[in-house]
Symmetry: D2
Subunit: 281 residues, 4 copies
Amino acid sequence: MITLDTLNAATPDAFAAALDGVFEHAPWVPLAAAPARPFATVTALHDALMDVIRLADADTQRRFLRGHPPLSAAALAGGLTADSRAEQTALGLAGLGAAAADFTARAAAYTAAFGIPFIICARRHTPSSVLRTLERRLASTEAAERDAALHEVHYITRLRLVARATGPGIPRTTGHLSTHVLDTARGCPAGGVRIELLRDGVLLRDGITNQDGHLAEPLIAGEPLRIGPHELRFHVGPYFATTDAPWQDLIPVRFFVTEPEGHYNMPLLVTPWQYTTYRAG
Amino acid sequence: MITLDTLNAATPDAFAAALDGVFEHAPWVPLAAAPARPFATVTALHDALMDVIRLADADTQRRFLRGHPPLSAAALAGGLTADSRAEQTALGLAGLGAAAADFTARAAAYTAAFGIPFIICARRHTPSSVLRTLERRLASTEAAERDAALHEVHYITRLRLVARATGPGIPRTTGHLSTHVLDTARGCPAGGVRIELLRDGVLLRDGITNQDGHLAEPLIAGEPLRIGPHELRFHVGPYFATTDAPWQDLIPVRFFVTEPEGHYNMPLLVTPWQYTTYRAG
Amino acid sequence: MITLDTLNAATPDAFAAALDGVFEHAPWVPLAAAPARPFATVTALHDALMDVIRLADADTQRRFLRGHPPLSAAALAGGLTADSRAEQTALGLAGLGAAAADFTARAAAYTAAFGIPFIICARRHTPSSVLRTLERRLASTEAAERDAALHEVHYITRLRLVARATGPGIPRTTGHLSTHVLDTARGCPAGGVRIELLRDGVLLRDGITNQDGHLAEPLIAGEPLRIGPHELRFHVGPYFATTDAPWQDLIPVRFFVTEPEGHYNMPLLVTPWQYTTYRAG
Amino acid sequence: MITLDTLNAATPDAFAAALDGVFEHAPWVPLAAAPARPFATVTALHDALMDVIRLADADTQRRFLRGHPPLSAAALAGGLTADSRAEQTALGLAGLGAAAADFTARAAAYTAAFGIPFIICARRHTPSSVLRTLERRLASTEAAERDAALHEVHYITRLRLVARATGPGIPRTTGHLSTHVLDTARGCPAGGVRIELLRDGVLLRDGITNQDGHLAEPLIAGEPLRIGPHELRFHVGPYFATTDAPWQDLIPVRFFVTEPEGHYNMPLLVTPWQYTTYRAG
């Protein structure tokens, strides 16, 4: 990690070198932002870097965006920068199976239509969300897609920057997902309840509630949430096993994450014959 | 349909003939109950018929129970009384796939262990419930299984009897399953919500709520419910489509029916960010 | 009760005589509407009667409105038509105590300001609502108050008309208020719970829930509800007496009725440690 | 404050002097416990002190209990130890009005019946709870009342001890009462909602929720809660003012505290047309 103070005090070349790779194959971006130093916050630094691209002419933007590797199953095998590879692997496109070929064909159609690769901040999406977004964006226009791509570059580079630079005013790039269980028939927390979290239908985490009805840790924290469908499964059957009628053994709660940097707390209030769930903010 | 009055007034032979098949391959059962006529209610008639079996000696009970066809995939193809065939087809054992062979083997083991076929009132169970019950009952004893089989004969013959005889005091053999949807953010019923009912994971019914938030008809009525897992799916996404965040598109509610003759009303109270469901009795 | 058919077939004079008093001291109103007969519905008849007033010139409207007795504590003692007296007594203005003098002074100020008495459909209001409405309307203008008074005449005469005339298309003039109680810890209705209804802080009804968790009758039906604050009190303490911690003995639920012709069903879902209430439509 | 280490190391006389007044007019209690030192925790010290009384013969216990001033309105004017006076003033018996005379008469009857004053840990009770407890205990027996009085002495002396002595293992003598408000129609905390807390019908605290839906501080913390009826009033009308129908302006939530050292968190989940409240542990 490099501090904002060090970045502010470095020579322009050292500044650009320290940020190499944040903007893919584009060392000219930090060089152009260097004269605007010192920056008071990491957020201000990132804004200045993005402004270099945002204020560039259309040809320069196109060339910059073409420097981004196409997001595809094939691309996962090699040819990406280390950051891109990690981001795309994290997405789990490799697990898309039959959908992968479909994705590759559509991504090629996208590039043919708009002259730039399909760029998306993979760490903020699930595979199903990437496919849905690509489908939707295929119906767009060249100029609108340049803006959309730059908006994704904003998210991609922000995550890369906060992984390297530290200092005051770090932008919020992580989300939070948690839950807890209350037994509202007995007026106390429900301990010992197993909870599973599925994302895009795939099991992501599980845990058992403690005596406060909480899991030992948030289900997700310290990283962006991913846009897409999620499901919590509360295995309350064993908890209520002393009652004779196992009316509810497994309570599924589905929800759709739309804000990767949001705070989602989803409690469950439960009796043997009723439950309530809600977003608690 | 034959009336209780007619049954009460018939000769013993005509009485037994009218009830032929209610007790499988056992015309001696109604003959033995005939002298106790007249019966004030259909329930009293059924109780008297069952008492003939319940008070018989163990050998007679065993012979009677052996008269019941084994419940198996093979059995579905032929050799059943018409009533038995309809009941077993309704269960959907034919759709069990790989589990069918497993069931056949276990049912054979049951007969080998206890000297009687595995008898269960198929119209009160789902396939998964039949398999679970068979598994559990394999660990029982010969005497306990004779009692358990007679308990199932009670349910089987009661359903057959009420399909033929009418009159005062008909026993309750049907259940009720319904739901409705209220929008508690706006304080009004939620109309236009599609609802699906799954049983043992198989889609059984669907419908759209009307302006009162109800379906035009109960999800199930006029027949026994079936012991086993059920799931309601409330497709609330389109209903809330005017709000920008599709937090909840599909709300699944799972529950386990344990009383086939019970009344299950399961409302959904829902806002874009919260829902409550419960058994309303 | 007179039928719409009879009214349609009567001579103009008999028609006007049959409706005498619906429009206070104004037999010319039904006379002017008589030529428009026959009316297909009671609602159409009432609309035609109201149109006579609505389309009259300002002077005629003023004279008509002055024919209405002022609504005041003094007025309750005499000088009202029978209908007016019954309506104002039902309001309970006599029980206003100190507020009655205040009301009388403000009503006089209203007449001084706008040249007409303060007219309000007393059967759709509580005393507190009458006082609040008068306070608010004192800040209005002469023309707006003539409209407001005619709007109240619409409600007053509609109630009078449906009390005399019957036939197809009767306008809805009654509201509905009910409740029921479910024990969502045990999954069944809560019987034996005493419920009180207060209106404007005064006890209006009480009852005990039956085995279905309902009262034998709606709390209010067959008459308009009254605009104003209401409170339900659910005495759940004795119901939960077997649990050792009397966390909740009396659950008060306050709400404000704004639609006298509306349908208000307000269930209570309750456990020893939680409750939910809502408008069920 | 004196440390447990200091108490453990002191001479018996200094030890007794340091604890003077914890056991009212009974310096012999700490003197008798002194040989059992050192104590590992403050709780162990208190247990040892109480054991001196608990293991004493009935006459000694009676003499000790008679050393306690009678809890009465008259007593509040003088003659109490400083600790007793503060405790009884905190109870608010002075505000009992007409009930005070009633209390005085019953307390005298109690002393006449059982030979000891009516002793109760006033800081754990509301006035109504003191009156109810006295009423109930009048129907008891002399031996049971000696035990009940010693049980109250346990609470009284524990509170006095933790106000003077510090060290490891301090017993829990404080409770916690808090709330927060969530808008479950919009899926976010409800800020700006005024909340009042009443105890025994008297306003005790109020506050406005912040942007997290919480009050800046718990409603009660750092002292025992008081056994008795409490009521929260959530003034949600202004919060929902943008909706046209002010269905709910003030939501009252009543509950009965039974555990003065307990943790009571009582959230409100609210929409314009529904609310849920529960004990969250």
